[in-house]
Point group: C2
């Protein structure tokens, strides 16, 4: 498992000439790093009497951050597995007409999974960005730059994941699937744009 | 060392109630991940006859990516060490006037180092972003989304690092140091803005 590797070994594996792990896993990892940072900011706020008014809200955010961190960490490995399944489908035999049909179906099925997975990553990243922009303004002010970085990581993870959705969509033939995915992408992009702007505004207020 | 931890353990440590590691280390890690991804795209291009025309340029980019990846990986640990030195300086005795002066000097020195380090990280991230937007357009088209994610990680790492510079600058008293740093920040931000726009343009051309 990729997430059981040391950071140094993971970076070496990432930089190697093997196409997996690639950008999809890194997008998920960016989201997981953002979510963990948001957790830290929550923990540095909970129990601090200076922030007594926001305890309940920050505790709710912390629970959500923990959940998203776990989901995004799983996605680091899952994205690479989904990519490997696409590669395996391409290697199926194509000598007979029947084999060609089966291979094409297997590729399409693997591609849809490889597109669904980063879409889920993008949705999780959107939730992390929302938490980050909020704890940046209500959380421990000493951790303001940490909350800001959490938001930047989520924003980068979101767009990285969407590039992975789009590149897989290019090989998918089922029109209703493509249309549905494109609508979801639009919704995510539009909400991300608002939240990212809010993050930068809050960061400028808190950090300068 | 943080970089010798597994990714799972690192995420757990990051999310804990200890302020270190924090956003500074994550900004450096984002840059290192971007640089390693850029390396991968270069390796998937070098030796491929379809990209014969750009071999020399891609080999140069690969060498730079390896160098930057190593520097940014070191910075993951170095940023947390710099933060710990600031914390240690704050804990120095302040019973006598002489102790107060020595403590204040130690804090200022540690703060300047804690501001210099993320500035270097931001400069390295800028170089990674430049490489990413270039290999996205000239490198192996099958790895276009990987190059795009590399650029997004570098862009996020850069701004994350600059938040860490700014938050430390707020505690620094030496005016010429502040002025010099602010000028450097401006230069980096302006160049990042051009390169990020270029990255998005290239990504839209290659991915859609």
């Amino acid at each position: 498992m990729l997430t059981q590797m040391t950071i140094t070994d993971f970076l070496e594996e990432l930089g190697s000439n093997s196409p997996a792990p690639g950008g999809g896993s890194i997008a998920a990892l960016a989201g997981a790093l953002g979510s963990a940072l948001a957790s830290m900011v929550c923990r540095l706020t909970v129990g601090n009497s200076k922030y007594a008014e926001v305890q309940a809200e920050v505790e709710t955010i912390l629970a959500e951050a923990e959940y998203l961190s776990a989901r995004l960490t799983q996605a680091v490995d899952a994205d690479t597995e989904a990519f490997n399944k696409v590669m395996a489908a391409y290697k199926l035999p194509k000598a007979t007409d029947e084999e060609k049909v089966l291979r094409s179906q297997a590729i399409q099925q693997a591609m849809q999974q490889a597109a669904n997975l980063p879409l889920n990553v993008a949705e999780c990243c959107l939730a992390v960005l929302n938490m980050a922009q909020r704890v940046l303004i209500i959380g421990n002010a000493n951790a303001a730059s940490d909350a800001a970085v959490a938001g930047l990581m989520a924003h980068a993870g979101l767009h990285g994941a969407l590039y992975n959705v789009k590149i897989n969509l290019a090989s998918i033939k089922e029109e209703p699937f493509i249309t549905a995915m494109q609508a979801k992408i639009q919704t995510i992009v539009s909400r991300d744009s608002q939240l990212h702007e809010q993050l930068l505004r809050n960061a400028s207020k808190m950090i300068g």
